[in-house]
């Protein structure tokens, strides 16, 4: 592995006596896209703001390319930021927004044009910000953050203000732009799908602590703990007899994804309580004899509501 480009060492922010974010240690490679994933209040936005310099850490250290930037103010940190609501300056036009971070120089206009071209908004420089659609505003804010050629790009819930239809397309365009520029990127999201789609690696945060860091498949197949197992993807949690019936040793907790369960001749017995049809397949909500509820993903006609079934697991995660 190459030497880390962005190093976060035991960074910590104490909001109050019982609300603390960190200590968190995290290394990010050059050109990598890291997602900070967690529920609201998990401290992911605080982490991003610590990186940007908008909050000062109470302990710990942040370094970029071996330069300690912990005490460097945001204006001199050269970290680009895309804000959740974009924070475009309403009194400036698109070009002046994008050029805000650029020094006065002969090639300023050329750099504005290039940055707008990067996000497919060539020719929009003289438009007013409020004339743009939500998706266009989002792209302007990306262009504005990238124009001064920052060392790190940060995005705070970059897609949360777009309607769902637009979100997926924008996500792919965003990843393409970031990869084309090759910039090291950290972004915050509370949506697992977005984190998987956009991030090379994902850091899962919960209650101010880092639960696990890893590639999407690692988090999905090898979650480090129950929180990660249930927050990333759908998960059935089994305890006691039910866990034993699925092949556990009966001591710990067993986690199984719905698509890793199937109806069978023998195994964990239960009754189908509900069927949720999603097109290619259906989720069957099963109640086991000891009143544990779990989901099985199977062919749409695999079972009927009220039917007594047996369930076995093709793969389980023991925690």
């Amino acid at each position: 592995m190459t030497a880390p480009f962005l190093e976060i060492q035991a960074i910590e922010k104490r909001w109050s006596h019982d609300v603390t974010v960190g200590p968190i240690t995290l290394d990010i490679a050059r050109g990598e896209i890291l997602a900070l994933l967690g529920p609201s209040g998990s401290g992911k936005t605080t982490m991003l703001r610590l990186l940007a310099g908008f909050e000062t850490a109470d302990a710990g250290r942040i370094a970029v390319a071996n330069e300690d930037v912990t005490a460097v103010p945001p204006a001199r940190r050269r970290f680009g930021m895309v804000f959740q609501h974009y924070a475009l300056f309403p009194h400036l036009d698109v070009g002046d927004n994008v050029g805000f971070g650029l020094p006065k120089s002969p090639d300023r206009d050329a750099r504005i044009t290039a940055a707008l071209g990067l996000v497919d908004l060539a020719g929009f420089a003289r438009r007013k910000v409020h004339e743009l659609s939500g998706g266009q505003q989002q792209r302007v804010s990306v262009a504005r953050a990238l124009a001064p050629e920052p060392r790190v790009l940060m995005l705070d819930e970059p897609l949360s203000n777009l309607d769902p239809a637009l979100r997926e397309r924008t996500r792919h365009e965003l990843r393409e732009v970031i990869k084309r520029v090759g910039i090291t990127t950290v972004f915050v999201t509370h949506e697992q799908e977005e984190a998987f789609d956009l991030g090379d690696r994902i850091a899962v945060l919960n209650q101010g602590r880092l639960e696990q860091v890893g590639a999407p498949d690692v988090l999905y197949e090898h979650p480090a703990n129950l929180f990660v197992a249930t927050f990333v993807g759908r998960a059935n949690v089994f305890r006691g007899n039910a866990a034993r019936a699925l092949g556990g040793n009966g001591k710990g907790i067993l986690v199984a994804r719905p698509e890793r369960l199937r109806f069978s001749e023998a195994g964990l017995p239960g009754v189908v309580r509900e069927r949720r049809y999603v097109g290619a397949a259906a989720f069957f909500l099963i109640e086991s004899d000891d009143h544990q509820h779990f989901e099985v993903l199977a062919e749409p006609d695999a079972a009927r509501v009220g039917q007594r079934v047996y369930v076995e697991a093709t793969r389980v995660i023991a925690l």
Binding site: A52, F54, P74, A75, R77, F89, H91, F100, R144
Partner: protein, 542 residues
């Protein structure tokens, strides 16, 4: 280790400055007043109690009259559509634009005993004397009702505009008829607006000086009583009177605030205001339009009279109904005679200086209170708002006392008689205006705009000038223009603190009136009116 943040130190500094100009003079007067034999004199004299009582009841009746005119007008203009609604709707807010003194002298020229209307009636009926004398409590109340209904009108309209039409529909769907909807839904929702207007009217009426000064005659309210006592040289008694007026003001505010309730409309968020209903029946529509236009003419008449009087040269108009000669002599004299130009320039520079300082202090307060959320933020906000809660006369006397002696150890310096005292007095009165405008604008400013600027490499100065100030501009311009206009037309503080060298326009208007130079006084009034309207117009531009 807890190191005091630099912003906390700055906040302490700002608090000290504000406390020194805003509350320290009041405390000095309070302490001095408690310590004199004048207290006994005040208590024993029936005249003092009469003036105090007059202040209270005049203010209360002013609130009632202003409400009686302003509220129905607001409903009419917000809910019904008729020809000329938009133009009229802004025209009838006009009296708020005028400096009080200008309004008062315009009234004098129109309705006074030698005014336009009295003369016309006198001539028409061949009367020996003027048909009435515009004097005493009734005259004061007339002027107050005329100038203060605007508060109720504007506040009620703003409250009505915030009403959610679905709330009214919900009431109807639940079986409430129009009457029930009005009393059980609309009025409770309007309460904060109405109380806000009542407070503003009460405070303005209590502090009103020009109307009682010009029309009061033998009828004294506390503000005119204080100035008269001060002019008589009885400083200790003036101090006691000042404290008494301040106590009444604070008590009035506290009582009114108890009735205010929470601003529930804000808590419920934005709704869609009901659209104005067109008046269907043609005859009613034309009646409404005629009444509206008639009202507008009635409201504009004083200003038109003022303009007319300003065009009549000295001594040319004696007993005729219409002036025999009309020309620009008075204006020519205004701008060519150094002694007349001087008060104009005085007022302009003193108003400008006080406004600039008030804006700078309010900007610092906005940054510290809203952005840095400093520990002293409540105190800073309170100090900025305090001058609004006390009549201008109170501050004028307090400043005169505090800055009339040399005692550096008590932070008291002789400023009375220098060019600094009037701008200082204007500054104190300007703080609530710039403070409210700029703090509100700061609260609406998305902090991520400033963060975005910082993340793009902009330092503090660049962020302030390129991002923060342009975004604050509407609130800042509104606050600054109100402050400037208030200082430009001020008479309350000026009459206590001016010297001949630093005399402002308002004082010059009074002395012109005293030597019967009505044309010049009117010309001054017109200039003041135009400059005020111009500044407010620029300030209100988006």
């Amino acid at each position: 280790m807890i190191r005091p943040r630099r912003s906390e130190l700055a906040a302490a500094g700002l608090t000290l400055i504000l406390a020194w100009v805003v509350i320290y003079p009041i405390l000095v007067v309070g302490a001095a007043a408690a310590d004199t034999a004048a207290l006994g004199a005040f208590v024993m004299r029936p005249g003092e109690w009469a003036a105090l009582w007059a202040s209270v009841w005049i203010s209360l009746v002013s609130v009632v009259l202003a409400a009686a005119i302003g509220i129905p007008l607001a409903f009419l203009f917000e809910w019904f559509d008729f020809p000329g609604r938009k133009t009229l709707g802004s025209l009838i807010a006009l009296p708020v634009v005028l400096p009080p003194l200008v309004g008062v002298i315009a009234f004098l020229f129109l309705y006074g005993e030698s005014g336009f209307i009295a003369r016309a009636i006198q001539a028409a009926l061949h009367l020996e004397n003027a048909p009435w004398r515009l004097q005493g409590a009734a005259a004061i109340l007339l002027v107050h009702a005329y100038s203060m209904y605007v508060y109720f009108y504007l506040f009620t309209r703003a409250g009505l505009a915030k009403l959610d039409v679905s709330m009214l529909e919900a009431a109807q769907a639940l079986g409430a008829d129009r009457r029930a909807t009005l009393w059980r839904v609309i009025v409770p929702l309007l309460r904060p607006s109405l109380v806000g207007a009542a407070m503003l009217t009460f405070m303005t009426a209590l502090g009103s000086f020009s109307a009682p000064y010009i029309f009061g005659g033998g009828f004294r309210v506390m503000t005119t009583q204080i100035v008269a006592t001060k002019l008589n040289g009885d400083l200790p008694l003036a101090m006691v009177e000042t404290v008494a007026l301040a106590i009444v003001a604070v008590a009035g505010l506290l009582i009114l605030r108890r009735t205010e309730g929470d601003d529930i409309l804000v808590a419920l968020g934005k709704g869609i205001a009901p659209r104005p209903r067109p008046i269907r029946r043609a005859s009613v529509r034309w009646l409404a339009a005629t009444l509206g236009w008639g009202l507008a003419v009635l409201l504009l008449l004083p200003h038109l009279t003022l303009a007319l009087v300003s065009l009549v040269p000295y001594g040319a108009w004696t007993t005729e109904i219409l002036p025999p000669v009309v020309n620009f002599d008075n204006y020519r004299r205004l701008f060519s005679e150094a002694e007349r130009l001087r008060p104009m320039l005085n007022s302009l520079w003193m108003a400008a200086a006080s406004t600039v300082v008030a804006v700078v202090l309010a900007l610092a307060a906005g940054w510290l209170v809203v952005r840095q959320r400093v520990w002293l933020r409540r105190l800073i906000e309170g100090l900025l708002a305090l001058p609004w809660a006390l009549p201008g006369t109170v501050f004028a006397i307090a400043l005169a006392i505090t800055f009339g002696v040399h005692a550096p150890l008590q932070l008291r310096f002789v400023l009375v008689g220098t060019a600094a005292i009037l701008p200082l007095a204007y500054l104190v009165r300007a703080l609530p205006l710039t403070g409210r405008g700029i703090l509100a604008a700061y609260r609406q400013l998305d902090p991520s705009l400033e963060e975005a600027a910082a993340s793009l490499g902009a330092g503090r100065w660049r962020t302030l000038t390129r991002v923060t100030l342009p975004q604050l501009r509407p609130g800042l311009a509104a606050g600054a223009s109100l402050a400037f206009v208030a200082a430009l037309g001020d008479i309350v503080a000026s009459i206590v603190l001016y010297t001949y060298e630093t005399r402002p326009v308002s004082i010059e208007i009074l002395s012109s009136l005293r030597i019967a130079e009505t044309g010049v006084a009117a010309a001054f009034g017109v200039v003041l009116m135009l400059v005020s309207a111009l500044v407010l117009g620029v300030g209100a531009r988006r």
